[in-house]
Symmetry: C2
Amino acid sequence: MAPVDVPVALLGYGTVGAAVNRFLHENADNIERATGHRLRVVRALVRDLKKQRDFPAAPGVLTTDFAEIADDPEISLVAEVMGGLEPTNDYIMRLLRGGRPVVTANKQLLAQQGAELFAAAQEGGVQLRFEASVCAAIPVIKVLREALVVTNVHRILGIVNGTTNYILTQMELGAEYEEALADAKRQGYAEMDPTEDVSGADAAAKMAILATVAFGSRVTLDDVNFEGVERITSAHVSAAKQMDMVVRLVGRATLVEGGYDVRVSPALVDRAHPLASVEGAFNAVMLQGDAIREITLEGPGAGGIETASAVIADMVSIIGTKGTGFLHNDACWRKIDRLPAGELRSPFYLQISVDDRPGVLARVAERLAAHGISVARLVQSQIDGGATLHVISHEATYGAVETALAEISALPESREIAAAFPVISQRGISELGWA
Amino acid sequence: MAPVDVPVALLGYGTVGAAVNRFLHENADNIERATGHRLRVVRALVRDLKKQRDFPAAPGVLTTDFAEIADDPEISLVAEVMGGLEPTNDYIMRLLRGGRPVVTANKQLLAQQGAELFAAAQEGGVQLRFEASVCAAIPVIKVLREALVVTNVHRILGIVNGTTNYILTQMELGAEYEEALADAKRQGYAEMDPTEDVSGADAAAKMAILATVAFGSRVTLDDVNFEGVERITSAHVSAAKQMDMVVRLVGRATLVEGGYDVRVSPALVDRAHPLASVEGAFNAVMLQGDAIREITLEGPGAGGIETASAVIADMVSIIGTKGTGFLHNDACWRKIDRLPAGELRSPFYLQISVDDRPGVLARVAERLAAHGISVARLVQSQIDGGATLHVISHEATYGAVETALAEISALPESREIAAAFPVISQRGISELGWA
């Protein structure tokens, strides 16, 4: 059993780092009662010693020299809250190889360099925990790894990016995309450069991490097919509304015979589905597995104190499992192939704008049929001398839908690029439709 | 570090026990990868060795003699899945005092004898884990104790009984209470004697356990004020519907200045609230705390394999934290007083049926005002020469509402006992109302 006093270090002392230090101070008694240990920040790596900070560290804690952390044998574990790929990766690799457990909140690093990082942890015989890298304080990694140990989770559906969920819920209330994005920036939900969020790259990294843990096979950012919300228009949002659905940016990880598929894209979610009620900047993850049917976790997916709360939970869990062999290994123990990109099946909603001329519906229907896309519901509405076709299809492959849409968009009658959204519903497709 | 082979025993080998044995068999490799250990059921206590079972135990595993488990030093931990208060309590006490870690799924035992059980665990220097006692596979205990260690959770809202939630969602679809209950029995969601579920006693035991863990102070079944669904009528359900709310049996644990309050009662839940979308036999628990705002966990709250999944997660967590001091103590470290029964505040919906005579509204309004109950919305509807008053109040104490209602029910114009339901909404009360 480790001694009561546990000196720890931080890489980074921004909003999250300062909150970690503050929580460890304020909750030292709680933590000692739960774990038998008092965690104390003795070093924090920063770039600028003189910067003003939320919760100032005690004198002598801040340092600009990584060696003061790496070479101090007294430090029991290190939490990385500085972000970025380099030099962060180098620091973490050196700590792990040197036998120092690490907690990280760095999703891009994990999703891109996970294999190397876990190999270093194995080499050093220590844990690398990463709860805060996915959905901040929502403890989905702990639940997957520790609570669902006998449940083969084969499907994950997640709203794992708060910025885009905020934008989409604002659009539901009537805003155009650009307005909603500007509003998200004002509210602090979007960064000045929102690319990583609105492109889906942030959600893709999180889904890669979740799929890796759930499926036991490495899924990197490169293995995730992702698309963001930039092309969502108010026409899509209002069509969804008329069908009693909502547009959400949904991450979907699926394990089927023959491989896995992990993707992020806008989807139409039935109002009766638990993910449809996730509003504003909240996140939710639904885990489907053998023994549990499904478990959904919902909460704030970002924020400094929420992230700090998850970092501390990981620190406490490392101290609480030290020397037992528990989770001292990579979650990956098998090699599953990626399903070829177009092969996953889903029901779809298609929105197709065409000139209102005789024969055009036949030509569109012919293109759908040619690719095996079976129409469950079709509604045609008139707009500006043109027609918009709203189609809900039975299950079809992503590949077939993509090809059919490209062909339809190339028809001379096509007015704009046709859009396709997977439909997520727990009801039968035939129960969905135009109000 | 414990050896790879970990012999374990079960008290009980019914549906849950057999599922635990089966999962440990089928997932032995998964568990060894995650923990470094292989768990193996070597003994299971039963009453009848000859009974046919789902997943038969290996020869020699079943026994009718508790001493074969208690006296076998090879057995590393014991999972209690036999239920009941005695002799179960006696068995667990003896195991814990003898230094044997125990996992239990027994909510009534924990909610009634928790203090003694945890004292015995402390005496024996071992863990007592109880995830499966609350909401089966939904890992709310693990999340509270391990993930939210620096979040002072001060409020829990839960739908923690699947039977009553099934009944209420069936009533929403038009069934009367008796029909819905009969249907729940047919579907296997209600027992032949459904008293423990429909009276709220089952939910009350779960809320006592959750409150104990969240608040760090012992809350027993006796400390929970509970009321079931037996008096819910279709008039209540349809009034809720007209206000875009649903009737749910809600457990509510609150920590305020001056004490805690834990109660279970039917409540009106705003459709926009995450708990409103919990349908059928599903459960959900919303945890509100300092660092997390709120986290909601939703899933199946009962079932043999779901319960077995939680039991195994606890077994694995005990093995994975052995000898570290982690959670080797009772969650209770302080003594918080119970708030006097009537003092908790909430907005309410009141349904009052009266003869339609001049002056009656004034008399009802006068009784409300006399007890400081401020009306936010009032709608009067005519029924059979009488009138039903639908009132949404601003926050008032439970005590004031109870007294006012008793006085109103005693008015000569009163047609039936008036009903009051707390209203649960994240919107302002003034946004709620009659459609």
